[in-house]
Symmetry: C2
Subunit: 243 residues, 2 copies
């Protein structure tokens, strides 16, 4: 078939797949991806062949998937959330370069900001920024600059990768930077294990968020100036004049 | 059933629905929404009852949907793209207030940035901002400020509502503002009619974008400093060190 489809699988529950993603995964003959994501989809498509690679092996993973497609297979490369946002679609195109073989398709998926936002209520009704706190590929100084500018612009901010074992204090550092611009009372929230066992949400102030024990399974939301709790939900009113 | 489900239907093609959205729409007994979005889903669920309201009637639409749910019906309120991002979920919660009736659920959907990004290649692999150029609910001065800060932060920017009949020159004005910060050669793109008849994408420079005849069916992408064309696709390389 000589085709590689980069599939965003959403946060981790099968019902968050799009019909297009489900169809592609059902009809392909090899599902490739990072071990953790392959283990998520394996029970949904138990009869498929799987090719799992470990953490930080992004280029190797994409190369193997491209090679399998070039060898005539119909391959899906799965990404958690969206296939583009912090996903593998870009790297696949980079590695394929100017070649037209194999055919590459990208199927988008629900990124954590959307899935977490729906759990929390409606924090993302207005203009927003998505910023990762991982400094593996982005210098920390640039991340700091982005946080400050996004806060100055009164954007609602979704923070990805707020912490990991190797950088347990990134969320505290980010909050300290944000509090140079925003009041420590600003409404914030954490969505944890979205679409997976132990799914939960919590709302808190920016000051409280600075001390929150986040991990790599958390997505963090920083409200804009209008954000508030309504009926226990985090809402950003848009200001409809007929309300 | 006394339930209102706010459903993000994605860009407009049925395959972009999530399994959860499809299930909710199949099982409800009334589908409410803006006329244009109701007309999109009507052929997919021809046996349902529909309740369509006109443009700018957002609060009326949400009130009618809440009232139908309170009266015992299982109602889906459909939103184009995501149910949260510029969608109706926030307004529904605002209007319900502190009441616990009816039950409200939010099902997220593929917002145009994700769907358009996948068509273009992978422009959104890194930190990003989503900004609407509609000044119906947001003062233009604040939109200008957000554009400048997002550009200064080297965020990839997805622009929603780049133009409409009432504000045909907003995209030009936005580009003029962005060119105070960004070079006019910066890679940009337009995705038009995503998921609908006449779907197309075009890439161009920021200078060219300023003269582009955008309409309300366009989603615009402003690349960050790393964005480039690879094999005809708009890609933002993330800088994996093992490539």
């Amino acid at each position: 078939m000589n085709r590689l489809t980069v599939v965003g699988i959403g946060p981790g529950d099968r019902m968050s797949l799009t019909l297009a993603a489900d169809e592609a995964l059902q009809n392909c003959d090899l599902i490739a991806g990072y071990t953790v994501y392959v283990d998520i989809v394996r029970p949904w498509y138990p009869d498929k062949e799987f090719l799992a690679t470990g953490m930080t092996k992004e280029a190797e993973r994409c190369r193997l998937a491209l090679e399998a497609a070039e060898a005539g297979r119909d391959v899906c490369l799965v990404c958690s959330g969206d296939s583009g946002i912090y996903g593998m679609a870009g790297l696949v195109y980079e590695l394929r370069g100017e070649s037209e073989e194999p055919e590459v398709r990208v199927i988008p998926g629900l990124t954590a900001a959307l899935a977490g936002g729906a759990l929390l209520g409606a924090p993302l009704t207005c203009d927003l920024a998505v910023i990762s706190l991982s400094d593996r590929l982005t210098p920390w100084e640039l991340i700091e600059k982005r946080l400050v500018k996004a806060a100055e612009a009164d954007l609602t901010i979704a923070l990805y990768n707020p912490a990991s074992k190797g950088r347990p204090d990134h969320l505290r550092r980010a909050c300290d930077i944000l509090m140079r611009v925003l009041p420590k009372e600003r409404l914030c929230a954490v969505a944890r294990n979205i679409g997976r066992d132990g799914e939960s949400v919590e709302t808190m102030s920016l000051g409280e968020l600075a001390g929150y024990p986040a991990d790599m399974f958390c997505t963090v939301f920083i409200g804009n100036a209008a954000a508030r709790l309504i009926g226990g939900k985090m809402i950003t009113p848009r200001g409809y004049r007929d309300v």
